[in-house]
């Protein structure tokens, strides 16, 4: 594409000032030639796409006059009273007449379109027609073929095929490659690229002195084998996957996706082939016998933002999530802007609106709600134990199995002991028992309103007004009678929120069909809190923050009988969803209907526990209210519902006892009268199960993809709106791309496999281009996100195709791709540039020199920590919270505050920094990290004063300067020059020049004097950061050295890959 470009480039300066910028723009962007043969894809399609396709392109709705220019048939067909294009006949081509017309009614593009053709573009179109208007399909939709190596003259320069393609181009341009960079620069460049950190001085020296012919390839091998490789390569993938630690809308609550992040690092380090990397992330759950790891991988398409704002319309956001998946997947694998076809046919590329929704269909079948969970993961999610946790869990399961076996073996003993005990049982005392495990409050109403639960540290219940109730006969001693006018205030107890497990059980005998049985709520209609309620005979359990949309309500399908004692137990498992609530009547599960299921904030209310009231007062009798700080099991519920006391049960003939009675008796017996061996075995069983539960609870979860059994129907959405469904569609892929292979499943798995079919024109090109961009700052296709008609042509089409075909041929071997790029002579060139070359190729698209540009945000920080010795390396784990200015979250989102980490977590690599999307880590964002709100495959790269302020003043950088100063003072003797040299070597892998050394020597002397005059200032400077200061060093000198190190760390060379 750029063959003639530099000719034009020179030409532009000779053009008189009257030339319009659009001409200039066209020269730079599309390039072209009048002398050479026109290439349709290179020269013509970009013009047609940008200027004409909007009205004469793929979008049928927008098409004017039924004339389209995006297909060959359309372009050469009949239009109006002639042909738009007649090969070799400019005068006969209506298109040319229109674009050269001065009649506002006839001219194209229309004056009010905002589009304009430059004189050069008009000339290109003229020339193209003269040459016969040859047509080509869009290059990116034609599968790449492995190109032959081009002929070159200076073959001695080439180290691998990449160089042939690059050199061939340079030779055509009359340019020469730059010299090879010196070894220090090279090893620093590659180490920063592949490991995200600079090399150590030892690594530099070893390479410099290594005279063997494979010295370079051994360096590359070492870097590719380092676990730092996966950490470094993950960053770009996290950008693309819009990975973050929060949900991104409104209150932007936390979520846990770090297990997915660690999956990425691990997959990269293991060099998982890119086809498998693709399939597992898009459809790992659909693979036969999907492993936990393969399910975790599917977190890729759950990383999109989730909206938990009160009052949203869930259907609206459920659509947005699917759209995000389509957009992201298309950008990352296809390099297509499919999102443009959401509301209408794509205006530039052959993707119809229908095709958009056909792809949408395969991402639309997730059992999800558009309303996300505000704090924590939104369903579907799975427990995602780390390998260590999987082992630990296995050990806990083994322990349970073994103790259960032991208990099983003791059943005969139990039976014998029980019979013996029963025989000796005296029925003189009435003995009763209830479950005490987790029991925190118990109101037996035996003549008083007294909390009889035996819990430590319990504050004595306030004196209650006994006159509020009438004591009468109950199910368990006396009961409390309520007349619908009053209720009992039972103190500041049972304060549960939505993360808490709890259970409430009671006996009750209602006389009216409506009234609140037990509550802790603001005692008004729609009050917030929880309440167990009888509504028109149905048992209702309500967890309410704000009625209606921030609440859970479940209701028994059946009504409860009036005037009859019955035992009720409700349990809540802290899961914040309606299905986490269960209810039992007389120990039997009740069928519950979900009325509302959307709570997003804690329902804990600053109110007392009330019995017999809350929203409305209860009429009837209530007895033995028991409150547990755990969710009772069904078995537990059946036991607590047994009205008979132990003495009663014993009195019943064993064969006539109900299972619940037997169970209750055994529990009592084991706790109180069993032999040591038996008692211990049962206790161990309880402990083993509890330990497992506690451990299981601590295992992180991760959101994943799953399929619903019943397909959610997909419709074309008119104007892309969720509430305007039109024609129903099923999964399919765009016509312009290869069709699905025969027998491929018509779902996500089929889609994922289709992406990595060897004949796919886009996937490999898009992937290698992204990797190329990482090394050279710009992709071979500059528009990394768009390989469509509006995207740029590749600067080296054959090189792109060679890389893509080799990538596929290698079995999608990612490390091999890195290896070949880093091994090339192209990569190894010096990045120094002459003014002449810079003017000729400011963006280095011709690759006549090595890359030179500022390091990514993460690398800037990580290398500073590394150089100073502060970096704490540890792959994976929950995100950490390094320094951040106080109040940054609080000032725009009052509900949350940033709790800074301490110790090692202050010094982890930046990809582990906690990423809150609406207030992203400030230093990272200042250095052009993406906000992670949507898929980004190319960061901007700016150079701003805010960056200077961060590098000079942010705690991490100031602390690192001090740590580096300590390191250098301790390691390099006390000769000033030597310290400067050592610091320089550590930071930029080379010694300073004499001039540089001179500047730093003078600087040190000046700083030293300054701090000598003000030792207090030295102390202040050295107090920055939480890492301990080396008190053995002279404070004034250390402060002066700290300032010198800060100078070095702020140098352009340091934050730049050279």
């Amino acid at each position: 594409m750029i063959e003639r470009r530099w000719e034009q480039h020179r030409h532009r300066f000779s053009v008189v000032c009257g030339i319009t910028l659009s001409v200039f723009s066209a020269v730079i962007i599309s390039s072209a030639a009048t002398a050479a043969e026109i290439s349709f894809n290179r020269d013509i399609r970009p013009i047609l796409s940008d200027v004409c396709f909007k009205c004469h392109g793929p979008d049928e709705q927008q098409r004017v006059g039924e004339f389209r220019l995006d297909t060959k048939a359309g372009a050469f067909g009949v239009v109006e009273d002639g042909h738009a294009l007649v090969p070799h006949d400019v005068a006969g081509s209506l298109l040319f007449q229109k674009i050269t017309s001065s009649d506002p009614d006839a001219q194209m593009p229309p004056p009010d379109s905002g589009r304009k053709l430059s004189a050069r573009q008009v000339e290109l179109l003229r020339q193209w027609i003269v040459e016969g208007a040859p047509w080509q399909e869009h290059w990116a939709f034609i599968p790449p073929q492995k190109p032959p190596l081009p002929a070159i003259r200076a073959s001695g320069w080439c180290r691998n095929p990449i160089d042939h393609f690059v050199l061939a181009r340079l030779e055509r341009e009359g340019l020469q490659p730059s010299v090879t960079a010196d070894r220090r620069t090279l090893i620093r460049r590659a180490t920063l690229d592949l490991n995200g950190l600079p090399p150590t001085p030892e690594e530099v020296e070893a390479f410099v002195e290594d005279e063997s012919s494979d010295a370079w390839s051994r360096v590359i091998d070492r870097l590719l084998r380092s676990p730092r490789y996966g950490e470094t390569m993950a960053v770009g993938w996290l950008d693309a996957a819009r990975y973050a630690d929060t949900s991104g809308y409104q209150n932007d609550g936390p979520r846990d996706m770090w297990r997915w992040r660690d999956w990425v690092i691990d997959a990269l380090n293991r060099n998982m082939p890119f086809d498998r990397f693709t399939v597992e992330q898009l459809a790992g759950d659909l693979l036969p016998g999907a492993s936990i790891s393969q399910q975790i991988a599917t977190g890729f398409n759950r990383n999109h933002r989730g909206n938990a704002e009160g009052g949203i319309i869930p259907e609206e956001y459920q659509v947005e999530y699917v759209v995000d998946r389509v957009d992201t997947t298309a950008t990352v694998w296809l390099g297509l802007t499919m999102g443009c076809a959401r509301c209408h046919d794509h205006k530039y590329d052959p993707v119809t609106q229908k095709e958009f929704y056909q792809v949408f269909a395969c991402f639309n079948n997730i059992p999800e709600s558009g309303r996300a969970i505000k704090e924590g993961n939104s369903p579907p999610y799975i427990k995602a134990p780390t390998p260590e946790q999987q082992l630990a869990l296995q050990r806990l399961d083994d322990r349970i199995a073994s103790v259960e076996l032991r208990v099983q073996g003791l059943q005969d003993v139990l039976h014998t002991e029980l019979v013996t005990w029963e025989q000796s049982f005296s029925d003189k005392v009435d003995i009763d028992w209830t479950i005490t495990d987790g029991l925190v409050n118990r109101f037996e109403f035996d003549g008083s309103i007294h909390d009889s639960a035996d819990t430590p540290d319990k504050e004595s219940a306030p004196a209650a007004d006994v006159s509020a109730v009438q004591f009468g006969p109950g199910q368990h001693g006396q009961s409390a009678g309520f007349d619908g006018q009053q209720n009992v205030t039972a103190g500041d107890v049972a304060n549960f929120g939505y993360f808490d497990r709890f259970s409430i059980s009671m006996w009750m005998k209602p006389r009216q069909s409506t009234g609140t049985i037990v509550s802790r709520m603001v005692p008004v209609e729609q009050g917030s809190g929880y309440y167990v309620h009888l509504n028109d005979g149905h048992l209702q359990i309500n967890l309410v923050k704000r009625w209606l949309d921030d609440s859970i309500r479940v209701e028994s399908r059946d009504t409860l009988p009036l005037n009859e004692w019955q035992h009720i137990t409700m349990t809540y498992d802290g899961s914040r969803v309606a299905k986490g609530i269960r209810a039992y009547r007389n120990g039997e599960p009740m069928e519950l209907l979900v009325r509302y299921d959307g709570i997003n904030q804690s329902f804990a209310a600053d109110e007392p526990l009330r019995i017999g009231g809350g929203y409305s007062n209860f009429t009837g009798d209530i007895d033995d209210v028991q409150i547990y700080e755990r969710a009772l099991s069904q078995e537990d519920a059946s036991r607590v519902a047994v009205p008979e006391s132990i003495s009663h049960i014993v009195a019943i003939e064993p064969v006539r006892r109900s299972p619940a009675q037997t169970s209750k008796l055994i529990q009592y017996f084991i706790q109180h009268h069993a032999s040591d061996d038996l008692g211990e075995a049962y206790e161990e069983m309880v402990n083993a199960r509890r330990d497992r539960e506690t451990f299981y609870e601590s295992i992180p979860t991760v959101m994943v993809m799953q399929e619903m059994e019943m397909l959610r129907p997909t419709h074309i959405l008119t104007r892309g709106q969720y509430d305007a469904p039109a024609q129903k569609v099923t999964f399919g892929v765009p016509d312009v791309l290869p069709s699905l292979p025969d027998g491929a499943p018509h779902n996500r798995l089929g889609f994922a496999r289709w992406l990595v079919e060897p004949g796919h024109p886009l996937t490999a090109r898009v992937a290698v281009n992204r990797i190329w961009q990482m090394y050279f700052g710009t992709g071979l296709v500059k528009t990394t996100e768009d390989f469509g008609a509006q995207g740029d042509m590749p600067s080296h089409p054959d090189l792109l195709d060679w890389l893509a075909t080799e990538f596929i041929r290698s079995g999608w071997d990612v490390k091999a791709l890195h290896q070949v790029i880093v091994s090339s002579a192209t990569y190894r060139q010096s990045s120094a540039v002459s003014a002449q070359l810079r003017d000729r190729d400011p963006e280095n698209r011709l690759l006549a020199r090595g890359p030179r540009f500022r390091l990514p945000a993460e690398t800037v920080r990580d290398q500073t920590l590394f150089i100073s010795g502060l970096l704490k390396e540890h792959v994976g784990g929950p995100s950490v919270r390094p320094y951040q200015p106080d109040g940054l979250w609080k000032e725009i989102a009052s509900t949350t505050n940033y709790e800074q980490s301490h110790g090692d977590d202050l010094y982890r690599r930046s990809l582990y920094t906690y990423w809150k999307r609406t207030v992203a880590p400030p230093t990272m964002v200042t250095l052009d990290a993406t906000a992670r709100e949507s898929c980004i495959v190319k960061r901007s790269r700016t150079n701003t004063p805010l960056q200077a302020l961060a590098l000079m003043n942010e705690v991490t950088f100031v602390e690192a300067a001090r740590a580096l100063a300590q390191r250098v003072m301790n390691e390099s003797g006390d000769v000033t020059e030597r310290r400067i040299d050592q610091a320089f070597r550590r930071v930029v892998s080379r010694l300073p020049t004499a001039s540089e050394r001179g500047v730093l020597l003078a600087a040190y002397a000046r700083y030293l004097e300054s701090f000598q005059n003000n030792p207090q200032a030295a102390e202040q400077l050295l107090s920055v950061g939480e890492s301990p200061r080396d008190n053995s060093l002279n404070a004034v000198k250390l402060a002066a050295w700290t300032t010198v190190m800060s100078v070095i760390l702020n140098l352009d060379e340091v934050v730049t890959k050279e």
Partner: protein
């Protein structure tokens, strides 16, 4: 190597209708490279003579109730507690917070409205100071938007899209117009008001534009600009010396490798140093005379208040900062509206009016456009229980009110009209895109011409919509 900025600028100018010589472009790019926010290519993007050089946008986050402030509906008193007629609701969607309410009782405002000034604009007693300057204001009572919840609605009004990812208006202006002050950023955001709806960095973010166009948030705690202060123990003299040393070493490097990016970096460090002086000087209000506080109120002495931010906005306008956006939180009154709105008005009314007056007396109002408004309106029906003196209002995207002042808008006018329930716009609707198109127009920019190519599309603030509303302009 050119950074992405240059190519994007080129894209922008490539689209602009006016001609500009290549040499001029080269020098423009160079000056932009060399001086951060300093670029001032305004002559080239502006398609007509601007009536405003800068904008101060007083964004009222959470959505103020138009029914209690500006959109007077005297007939509602008689309809109190009656059901909102279906003919008015027209089956429009409601939020999840009220859609299942068993009834939608009409809740008239409990606040008194009066005609104000010569123009006779209706303003309620909640805003006595705003009422005083009614003749300076152009009220729009027929605003409408698309989203029904805060996050998408605020994002929409700021960026023209409900979903994250696009540049906000201030970023567009930074990109299009550059800065007129070489020591300060061209786009400053400030927040005030605790509680209520949260805000998000994206509201002053650059979206797909390079990050340098993002608004710089001035903070009320700690450094006004992040990392502005030197670490303890480094004073300005030592910092100057430090910068000289960094510059010397960077210059040596530039001579060796020839990368102009190094020149830019040297310039950015210099600008950082200037900001270390210019920003504290700006935020230090100790030089303000007592009559300033007589005007803005004593709250204006307290960093973090809306009044303080209004005062800073004036100081920024004096320094030719292009776009200043205040975000004041707390207008989301679903319940207990009469009490909460009174507090909210007390915190904002005086300073909003003071800013307009202050700009006027300093001669700045004529070329400063002031905009006051939220992200949507509120429902006429009561959310929750309607009682004698209590009501709440849910989100309402179909109608809301804003006002504008200065910068070429039609002072002393009221535009647009809603039905008798303030539910639907019945005359002269103003969509958010229209408002944004009109604001750009005041700055001399054709909203269809300020574009940036991303993902194959020439994006603009107003998407493919928006029309300039001439009646709003003087």
């Amino acid at each position: 190597m050119l950074d992405s900025l240059d190519s994007t600028r080129r894209d922008f100018f490539g689209r602009s209708a006016c001609g500009l010589g290549a040499a001029a472009l080269a020098s423009l790019l160079h000056s932009d490279r060399a001086a951060g926010w300093q670029a001032n290519p305004s002559d080239n993007v502006q398609t007509h003579t601007p009536t405003a050089k800068r904008v101060i946008y007083l964004f009222q986050s959470g959505a103020p109730s138009q029914l209690d402030l500006f959109d007077h509906k005297p007939n509602l008193a008689d309809l109190r507690a009656s059901e909102l007629p279906d003919s008015i609701r027209q089956g429009q969607r409601l939020t999840g917070m009220t859609k299942d309410q068993p009834s939608f009782p009409v809740a008239p405002s409990t606040f008194r409205f009066q005609r104000r000034g010569q123009s006779g604009a209706w303003v309620s007693d909640l805003l006595p100071h705003t009422a005083e300057i009614a003749d300076e204001l152009c009220f729009v009572r027929s605003m409408h938007t698309e989203a029904i919840n805060h996050d998408p609605a605020i994002t929409f009004i700021q960026t023209g899209a409900q979903l994250a990812g696009r540049p906000c208006m201030g970023a567009w202006l930074s990109y299009g117009l550059g800065s007129e002050n070489k020591d300060l950023p061209s786009f400053v955001a400030m927040v005030s008001g605790a509680g209520g709806q949260p805000l998000y960095d994206r509201l002053w973010g650059s979206g797909f534009l390079p990050t340098r166009y993002a608004g710089v948030k001035f903070r009320s705690v700690g450094d006004p600009v992040l990392f502005l202060s030197n670490p303890p123990g480094i004073d300005a003299g030592l910092r100057r010396s430090f910068l000289d040393d960094v510059a010397k070493l960077n210059e040596l490097k530039r001579q060796e490798v020839g990368d102009p990016e190094i020149t830019t970096r040297i310039a950015q460090y210099e600008m950082a140093f200037r900001m270390q002086t210019s920003v504290p000087e700006l935020t230090d209000i100790s030089d303000e005379p007592q009559h300033t506080f007589d005007l803005y109120g004593e709250d204006a002495r307290k960093p973090g208040t809306f009044a303080f931010n209004c005062l800073l906005a004036r100081r920024l306008a004096e320094r030719d900062v292009r776009f200043v956006q205040l975000f004041h939180r707390g207008w989301d009154q679903h319940t207990d509206l009469p009490n909460k709105i009174a507090v909210q008005c007390r915190d904002t009314d005086r300073a909003s009016a003071a800013l307009v007056q202050d700009l006027k007396q300093r001669g700045l109002l004529k070329d400063t456009l002031v905009v006051w408004g939220g992200e949507f309106g509120r429902t006429v029906y009561c959310q929750g229980k309607l009682t004698a003196n209590d009501y709440g209002r849910d989100h309402h995207p179909r109608a809301f009110s804003i006002w504008m002042a200065g910068g070429g808008v039609n002072a002393g006018t009221t535009y647009g009209e809603t039905d008798e329930f303030s539910y639907n716009v019945v005359r002269d609707p103003v969509h958010v895109h229209d408002l944004n198109a009109t604001i750009l127009h005041c700055l001399g920019i054709d909203h269809t011409g300020l574009t940036f190519k991303y993902q194959g599309r020439h994006h603009r603030l107003t998407d493919v919509h928006g029309k300039v509303l001439q009646p709003l302009l003087g």
